[in-house]
Chain length 263, copies 2
Amino acid sequence: MRNEQQEQLGISRRQWMLGAGTLATTAALTHLGGWLPSAKATGGATEKWPWPYEKLDPTTTAEIAYKEWYRIFCGGAVISSVFVQLREKVGEPYSSFPIDAFVFLEGGIANWGTICGSVAGANMVANLIIGPRITGVEAGHQIGTDIMQWYCEAALPVFKPKEPKVREPIIQTISESPLCHVSVGKWMTVADKPISSPERKDRCARVTASAAFHLVELLNTWKDGKYEEVGDWRPNGEYGMNAQPNCMECHGGGVPQAPMVKK
Amino acid sequence: MRNEQQEQLGISRRQWMLGAGTLATTAALTHLGGWLPSAKATGGATEKWPWPYEKLDPTTTAEIAYKEWYRIFCGGAVISSVFVQLREKVGEPYSSFPIDAFVFLEGGIANWGTICGSVAGANMVANLIIGPRITGVEAGHQIGTDIMQWYCEAALPVFKPKEPKVREPIIQTISESPLCHVSVGKWMTVADKPISSPERKDRCARVTASAAFHLVELLNTWKDGKYEEVGDWRPNGEYGMNAQPNCMECHGGGVPQAPMVKK
């Protein structure tokens, strides 16, 4: 059964496995004294949550995100669209946050087509403002998940900027996945436009603006104490592993069964 | 041809497209005055690169990452393993960086199985220290790419901690992908262990340690002025879109041709 599954995936067991050797030597263990973080090394001043948040206008935020895409691309633009406003309205800790470092989220992390930068950026912003789930507050984590599900299901781009660089209508597609490769690839196929085209760039700038718009909608609801989780994707419970909902898109020949806890 | 490609993917054109409507109303445009960032809103104090860096011991870093995985998981642990040491050796801007917010990178972003958090965390650290490519310095971007390629090709986990929580040998697998779902899924299949098993957790803690080890190796080389790019994956030039190298794994029935620039 295990071998059948691997054959369905077109990958042999041999390819997955490697005896110890080749790369293991790079990690030869040397003596390491017991490591304990000092007080100075733990609990940075910005690691107290929630960060002060003031409600923002979704349309203004989306317009900033659209413009910023042409400077720092999808992930950076979502972060910038929220944080530059909060730098003005609130100040720290937003002023000390290095927004521009997140250009690398472009193209699904340095053009590898993994998670769409706008989704990664939105998750970052929600978790930076509300805090990580290990603090006992789950809203940041949940807003991130909601945006992933929204991104999978929405006809993107949703948002149309006031003064778009591309005047012609931009076709909308549904990605069914948070991955850049899948989202951009489906759009490129339907629109029949190459990755370097002005239309593809403006599509991604508008997707970024759409994500920023929705992010601020959710953050404002949270600020009002009215946030309720929408996303219902619980892959570990249902499928026994971290996963997206679009199983059949890659596993057309049959979805492998994850090893489960022995009863 | 276009339709054939879509059939190969098992997805109809209809699924990808949606007329304007459903969600577009949420983005109804209201009047927006021209937005221009003020001096205060741009160029945070931490957006000057490179950040001060002192060479770290890869093994010490990997041991910290391994321990931190059990507190803040893959992405947070890679960031923490480098930044807690630099908080002690250097101070700012590391002291002001909110490491713990990045718990959400776990399980490929909030358990959606997209990019492995250890890879996302390593990209973050490289770009935070060296700076984004828009500054004209590409080494941070390139080190991130190198780590993605290394992650695809390495028999993971490479690193064995001095005092592992799981004493039995952890089998090594090659992911051929930077995605959590693919990397963890292949390991789970070969090891025949569920996601909740101590062995799977220790495998991911060791993968995290392995990524931190390799990240610091590359950062130390860069600090010495001897860094040379290793990764040679240029998806946009070769394939016309953002992508991973393992095309056939999802596109077993035939890899669609991306729309290209008309000659």
